[in-house]
């Protein structure tokens, strides 16, 4: 993780705590400020610097007091009279903010050319700090952006720390960096460079590499060295981030593939049947998850955030029940006719997909995003450790562990392995192979349901979604070999990573083409898959 960033934030918090009391100690002389605003050019300049100070570090109440003032001066909506001044926009006294009318012949202060720019800047600074609407703050930021050199040091950092809107916060930070980089003081610029290099990103790289055209780059060797150093560091950070991001995306894709394929692999190993309806079972798992969410909305809204967890048993058992029914009513009769069972399971897939389409419609389902799958932690470069992907990865790991335990450590698993290896022999020693088939089919289908649950926070959920995964899942099974968990894991990881590696280079379609060609080539070398035990051919 990024320690530097964390320390910076902590230091900032500490500084704010220490500074706050002292800032409050010197109470603002509101009447004096208004008097200066009504004064001559130099008094107005003084007033501007007071206002700037408020924007940076003043008391929140004073800042709120100051917000309309600069605007009023610019728009000539300030009427100075003997008793002070009135804001003519709303007819309030500038100091007390009580309604009153201007007395006598009020004067409206006129800004000098120099002061006008300052006041625009001050107004924007105040708005950025204190305007209630994000849009107003964004507009203020745009104004400030025009003259980065005039932005008082520290203003943007303070604004960014207090900004609740994430997007705007990012923009403020960028501007802060730009401002620091364009500062007049060379030392400040070098310090800014070091700070930027601490948080490498593509944005930072653009900013820093633009500096090679800066006159100072040619003139000052120190500046040049700082720029070059920052470029290298940022480049390295981005590269690391990209590698991590690719690996992370590949891992999450592999998790989904694994979840989609493991049930398929178990069933294939056991019965030699490829279940073409596996994709639809995944889809039904996702729909069940959605139904659980809708149910909670009605029954127990307080638990709504936990629907992803609560849906786990429901998704598993509903799809497992469908699988068991399928095995008992259909596939049982197709034992030893694997090609016909392909057609039969396709019929089931067609049926389920269209049934869901008729019942729920074709549109994508809307899912809540609970807090535990929202957002992520930015790590380095452009790599964000997102929670929704982490959810899928963890889910797959837990599923893997449980499936492995079930197959390796329970009597049921022992039966599955026995029937997978030698069905006739298993039957001879009294293993109820038909029951094992049925339960294993249920298990495989239930795992598909869980896959549907795991991918609902990442992918869109609709009646056709199963089709997107099923072919990749086949490839995993073909590559991994018949009925081995280890093979499925390795094949899912391999295909997941290869997909993610190729995609950014040549696109998703090319990734699929290349994966398929690689698998065909691989089968030349090992026709039985990665981990399969070779059986007697005749």
């Amino acid at each position: 993780m990024n320690l530097t960033r964390l320390t910076a934030v902590l230091a900032g918090l500490l500084a704010a705590l220490l500074l706050a009391p002292s800032a409050r100690a010197q109470a603002l002389d509101r009447a004096g400020l208004i008097a200066n605003l009504c004064g001559n050019a130099s008094a107005m300049g003084e007033a501007a610097s007071v206002l700037t100070g408020l924007a940076m570090s003043g008391d929140a109440a004073d800042r709120a007091f100051a917000v309309p003032l600069a605007r009023a001066v610019i728009d000539r909506k300030l009427a100075c009279d003997d008793a002070g001044a009135v804001l003519t926009e709303n007819g309030l006294d500038a100091v007390t903010r009580q309604p009153r009318a201007a007395a006598g012949e009020p004067l409206t202060p006129v800004l000098s050319l120099k002061n006008r720019a300052t006041y625009e800047q001050v107004d924007a600074a105040l708005a950025l700090r204190a305007a209630p609407e994000a849009s107003q703050r964004a507009a203020a930021l745009k104004t400030l952006e025009r003259r980065p050199a005039l932005i008082p040091e520290g203003l943007l950092e303070a604004a960014a720390a207090a900004e609740p809107d994430a997007g705007l916060k990012g923009e403020i930070e960028t501007l802060a960096q730009t401002a620091a980089l364009t500062a007049a003081d060379p030392a400040a610029r070098i310090r800014a460079l070091a700070r930027i290099a601490d948080n490498p990103s593509r944005r930072a790289l653009t900013q820093v590499s633009a500096l090679t055209a800066d006159p100072a780059y040619a003139a000052s060797p120190e500046f040049r060295a700082a720029v070059d150093d920052a470029t290298v560091r940022i480049g390295r950070g981005i590269a690391v981030g990209d590698v991590l991001a690719t690996a992370y995306n590949g891992l999450s894709f592999a998790s989904i593939l694994f979840m989609a394929a493991i049930g398929l692999a178990i069933i294939f190993g056991l019965m030699g049947v490829i279940n073409l309806a596996q994709g639809e079972l995944i889809m039904i798992g996702a729909y069940v998850t959605w139904l659980v969410q809708q149910g909670l909305r009605v029954v127990a809204p307080s638990l709504l955030d936990w629907y992803l967890v609560l849906a786990i048993p429901v998704a598993f058992f509903v799809t497992a029940a469908i699988g068991i029914a399928l095995e008992a009513s259909l596939l049982r009769h197709l034992y030893k006719r694997p090609l016909m069972s392909l057609l039969a399971t396709w019929a089931v897939s067609l049926f389920l997909m269209n049934l869901v389409r008729v019942v729920f419609g074709t549109q994508n389902l809307q899912f809540e995003t609970p807090f535990y799958v929202t957002g992520g932690v930015p790590v380095i470069g452009d790599f964000i450790f997102t929670w929704n992907r982490m959810f899928a990865i963890l889910f797959a790991v837990v599923t893997l562990a449980l499936t492995w335990g079930l197959v390796r450590r329970t009597p049921f698993g022992l039966n599955i392995r026995a029937v997978t290896q030698n069905r006739d022999m298993a039957a001879c020693i009294g293993i109820p192979t038909r029951r094992v088939d049925m339960m294993a089919f249920g298990l495989g289908s239930g795992l598909a349901g869980l896959a549907g649950l795991a991918l609902s926070p990442i992918y869109s959920v609709n009646p056709q979604m199963g089709q997107n995964f099923i072919i990749d899942a086949f490839m995993v099974v073909v590559l991994g070999g018949v009925g081995t968990i280890a093979g499925t894991v390795v094949a899912a990881l391999g295909i997941g990573q290869i997909n993610v590696l190729i995609e950014p280079l040549w696109g998703a379609v090319a990734a699929k083409v290349i994966v398929l060609l690689m698998i065909i080539a691989f089968l030349q070398w090992r026709p039985e898959g990665l981990f399969a035990v070779k059986g007697r051919r005749k």
Partner: protein, 242 residues
Amino acid sequence: MSLTALLVDGLTVRFGSFRALDDLSLAIDYGEVRAIIGPNGAGKTTLLDVISGITRPKQGRVLFDGAIDLTGLSEAAIARAGLRRKFQKPSVFEGLSVRQHIAIGADVGFRARLDAPALEDRIGEVLETVGLVDHSNRLAGELSHGQKQWLEIGMVLASDPKVLMLDEPVAGLTDEETERTAALVRALKRPDRAIVVVEHDMDFVERIADRVTVLHEGRTLFEGSMAHVRADAAVVEVYLGR
């Protein structure tokens, strides 16, 4: 022509860490009927698999006719060299008629090379030999188990093989059928042909075999005449039961 039809030389076949054949060597001559016996799992079928090219050995080689190494050849090339084999599990083409089987066996190639009358003669001859003349137009899928065994034998001998390998030709047959099969095997014996029979039925082996090789755990335990086999203490120990 060399006298040795098949020379099996230091053959090792492994399945995982299990050795189905373990440095096995043996020689089979032209003109003899060789029986290979041994308990279940001794490696008899595996040996035939290697000879016919279905299984690749880890080590060793199989020389045919003293010159041709079979271990690198494809199944089809081995068959075309003159070696034919009947499988342990009767393997016939359920969708083809009995005649078609013999035609396929007699004349190898996508297009027929023999002219029609010659082929007809050959088919008639073979059907006569295996006693399926009355069934020549039936589909193989409709035959009884014994008839399927004979059909497969007829199919492999239709090409006049130099080496004929029969894997358990009388398994599951009635006594009378066994009798006829024994007579058939004896009748197939020729000076320019080697016949290898894998079998469990001792009486059958006694009737057909010139020499017997006893396999045990992938190795030769004994080689000699059937009378000697029955007398050998080691064989009695592992195979015939004490």
